[in-house]
Symmetry: C2
Subunit: 244 residues, 2 copies
């Protein structure tokens, strides 16, 4: 994923699209491998896009497709693909109908939202009409979270579903320091699963959430059971919850 | 910035460090240029780190420095710099004192938190002792948000302050489509400032926050005044707030 916008890098806007996309990809069975955030710099956007689209099956972008001068994503995508950019007829007709119906002027700024690289297909925007677009394996979506979410829903419908990764979360009352050694041993015995441990700190004590992930249900169950056994052994043979 | 962790890419954990760092950098007068998020993959972490540390003045990382098997950031940083990794004496003494004082075993897992690339200097952790570390221009910090924040505070104290970017935000009741044209013209007349427009959508209507940023106070004030005049002109000559 590539999130675009100076406001994300200045801290003025806290991104809400990355976490949402991450969750949706997991549900769809698509591995999210990398996320980058860059500002409104045309060359950096184009270069980053070229790196990502060659490296991964899909690239999803957020931000920079509105009507103002700092909305430069469409131009950067066109530059990345060395494609000409122009007003997409279907996007023009949707936007024009939208503004005519509301008695609003179809300004030059608004027309900018119909600009796509040549040959792009549109991504429907059920929230506010102005569409996103797809070029090859790159999906260009809005940055406003509810518009991004609506567009992403349309995109995911259009993709072949992967095999979803299943996961089991085990709450662990011990800090990572207490379970690190047995958990490392256990993860070596279960190579078909990914075992993650995520520390929580409530201001006084650490606890841990242990998450086991796999596409192989049997391997997942075996590893989850081994983790539970390890924690039960620890509870019976060791002092209770300890800090750090 | 480089945020590290499978849990960020699966959506299980929503990152809270990127936005925080972005805000702190703005306050400190340091331009945040790019953020990447990668999973717990040693080669990808090392390669990404090498790209970023050569490209930018500083790199800040979050995550992967705890005591468990999936905490591989220290090893990845050592690999990136081609440095040997070992137990840092000062980190060992801090951690050992911490666990002894609490009557806890200084397990092998906990000793992992003292491992740093050779020559690293420590970043204090006032929250939970286990330190972060600095190698050259790379600052390696924890992923747990309150620990990350405490470490980042220490790091920023140690850096030469840049000239802070000042900003003025102007609330605009019009959608971007209504102000895109005049705003583009205005931004061309004020090249010394960055003018961003950030759409808001309340489910029914768009409005816009216009943010003007500059290190040059006089240029900032001139541009802010021009934006206000543009909006006042619009209010007197055009219909009030409109959707889209």
């Amino acid at each position: 994923m590539l999130a675009i916008g100076d406001e994300l890098l200045s801290g003025r806007t806290k991104d809400r699209n990355i976490g949402y996309l991450a969750e949706m990809m997991t549900v769809a069975g698509i591995d999210l491998k990398e996320v980058r955030i860059v500002g409104d710099e045309p060359h950096l956007i184009a270069d980053t896009l070229n790196t990502l689209r060659r490296q991964y099956d899909y690239v999803f972008t957020s931000g920079g497709i509105g009507p103002t001068h700092d909305d430069i994503t469409a131009d950067a995508v066109a530059a990345a693909f060395s494609l000409p950019i122009g007003e997409h007829p279907e996007a023009m007709s949707r936007l024009s109908a939208h503004y005519v119906a509301r008695g609003l002027e179809f300004t030059e700024a608004r027309r900018r939202m119909a600009r796509t690289p040549e040959g792009a297909s549109l991504i429907d925007n059920p929230v506010s009409v102005a569409p996103g677009f797809r070029v090859d394996n790159v999906f260009v979506m809005a940055g406003v979270p509810n518009v991004f979410q609506a567009m992403l829903g349309k995109v995911i419908e259009s993709l072949p579903a992967g095999q979803a990764i299943e996961s089991v979360a085990v709450a662990c009352p011990y800090g990572e320091g207490d379970i690190g050694d047995p958990l490392r041993a256990l993860s070596k015995l279960h190579p078909g699963v990914a075992i993650g441990s995520y520390p929580r700190f409530d201001g006084e004590r650490f606890s841990t959430e242990i998450v086991i992930r796999s596409r192989d249900k049997a391997a997942l169950d075996a590893a989850a059971s081994a983790v539970s056994t390890m924690l039960a052994d620890k509870a019976s043979g060791a002092p209770a919850a300890t800090p750090g």
